[in-house]
Amino acid sequence: MLRYLAGRLLRAILTIFLVITFAFFVLHLSGDPAMMILSADAPPESIKAFRAAWGLDRPLWVQYLSYIVHALQGDLGNSMRDGRPALQLVLERVPATLAITVPAFLLKLVIGIPAGIYAALHRNSLADRLTMMVSVAGFTVPSFVLALVLVLVFSVQLGWLPSAGSDKPASAILPIVTLGVAGAAILARFTRSAMLEVLGQPYIRAASAKGLQWRTVVVHHALPNAAIPTTTIVGFMVGTLIAGAVVVESVFAWPGIGRLLVSSVSNRDLAVVQVILLLVAATMVTSNIIVDFVYGWLDPRLRRGGPRGR
């Protein structure tokens, strides 16, 4: 067990490392921060001075090594725009993002899973078909389109909810709903197919043949088995808690990580982008590891070996 955990951690670290390296090279090779931050018609001396100050005139691999060395010591660089430590800047924004992604995640679970289960239990009924139609719409409509439509209806026409900003608690509602809808739709489809697959298994019929009530069969026999594949999708959604709201934050001018990422990338504010990517990679990797352990807990076949002793 310990060796397994160590192995996973090692691979996790390697993944994060690869992400950072890749991001580093792509960012550095794709644009000039000096030009971005100082503006294109700044005098060449200022640009040169800027670049020297930030070490951008050194060879690329030297910059890379320097970054890694500092990172290992906890220094993840400073923002080129305001000079503050990048890590601090990013962490400041995390609560704002979580304030919409976590409720959205809960919304996805609360709507998506029951809808999927209901659809599976009433297969081919009107309710099932409607649910599936709505769910397809839910995940095909791009989130910014949905966001704009919601704003149009609820802010402009009805005037119930604010359309942007984060000053009032009510301004979180539209972003949360926008985020939640697509996820709920996907989860509903997934849960439905997981349930259908389980309901077709011989042990479900055998459980009914035992005389158990249908409700008992569904709750105690079907759901625990359907939870196994559903965990994959839920785990993935957990992994996107940090960075899954880029578009929504931009549309609603919500001051979270997503907006910071967009602005940092367009400014080539390298350190900040790197920190954000590091954070995203770490979250994804952690949630993957957690999902693997949850699998083991849910499915005993993954825990132990095959038939032992006769």
Partner: protein
């Protein structure tokens, strides 16, 4: 699409009835329909009388009361018929709580006793195992134990040994015979294997394309089969002893349920057919007491 076309069956208390037929003949569907296990899209017609009480069309609660407690069922692939994420003890205990109202320590004790009864060594440890940790033969024993938990009057065994090795098959069939002797439980043994049915039942119903074509005591079926299909099945089976003879297969294939021929379903493959066979499905006639055949040329 009709899977069954008027099945008339009777199982007497303590009797062992064999139900024989090839794939698609409806031998499993008959019992799943009787117990209401076919799912929402199936429509079940006719009567299913359990001691006079009609189960067909009965409310779900009544069916649930009958399942496991009066009529229990075991299935073909025992390892898939057990919930993979629950321990054996839990699944067995579930049946005991439901049917015998036991609780706590009594459940454990009775579970162990049942596992011992079905010949599982080291019963206490087995209760904590998961189905994938047991072999196919052991899982089938667990299923039998679960079936016995409700102390049913009738056990439907749907191809219980088809997925098992020959020597394990012998063990399971022997176990069933022992239990029946002890409890006087009736049994319906469904199989495609005439030999299995021959040794373990008193009476046999042969099914073809959703109908019963012959219903007779075991000895009669083997020594004086009346229906051409039954004769054909016997002629197609090789013997283990005695002289080797050429196998006589039945020409043609089993018809699709959606494409049944008018008249007798077996007529296209029958070597004794006449024109009259194609008009209408033959009714069941009584050749002798206890021996019914659905053939106009029997």
């Amino acid at each position: 699409m009709r899977a069954l076309h008027g099945i008339d069956l009777e199982v007497r208390r303590g009797e062992a009835l064999g139900l024989v037929g090839e794939s698609g003949c409806g031998k499993s569907v008959t019992w799943l329909a009787a117990l209401g296990l076919l799912g929402g899209r199936a429509r079940v017609g006719g009567e299913v009388l359990l001691e006079g009480r009609n189960l067909a069309g009965a409310p779900v609660a009544e069916l649930e009361h009958v399942r496991g407690r009066r009529i229990a069922m075991i299935f073909q692939d025992p390892s898939s018929s057990l919930n993979p994420v629950h321990r054996i003890g839990r699944q067995l205990g579930e049946a005991l709580r439901l049917h015998r109202g036991l609780d706590g320590a009594a459940v454990d004790a009775e579970s162990q006793r049942l596992l011992d009864r079905v010949g599982i060594a080291d019963a206490r440890r087995r209760l904590g195992d998961y189905p994938h940790e047991l072999s196919g033969g052991m899982n089938q024993r667990v299923m039998i134990a679960m079936a016995l938990a409700g102390q049913p009057d009738l056990l439907i065994a749907d191809e219980p040994t088809t997925a098992l090795d020959a020597t394990i098959q012998a063990q399971i069939l022997e176990l069933l015979a022992e239990i029946r002797q002890e409890t006087h439980m009736a049994m319906v043994l469904i199989s495609h294997d005439l030999g299995v049915v021959a040794e373990n039942t008193d009476r046999v119903c042969v099914m073809y394309a959703g109908r019963i074509v012959e219903d007779a005591p075991i000895d009669t079926v083997f020594e004086a089969p009346a229906h051409p299909y039954t004769r054909g099945l016997l002629a197609a089976l090789p013997e283990l002893e005695g002289p080797r003879r050429v196998l006589m297969p039945i020409a043609g294939v089993v018809p699709e349920p959606a494409n049944l021929p008018p008249g007798c379903s077996f007529a296209p493959r029958c070597d004794r057919r006449i024109e009259a066979c194609e008009f209408a499905p033959p009714p069941a006639t009584e050749l002798a007491p206890q021996h019914r055949v659905a053939c106009i040329r029997a």
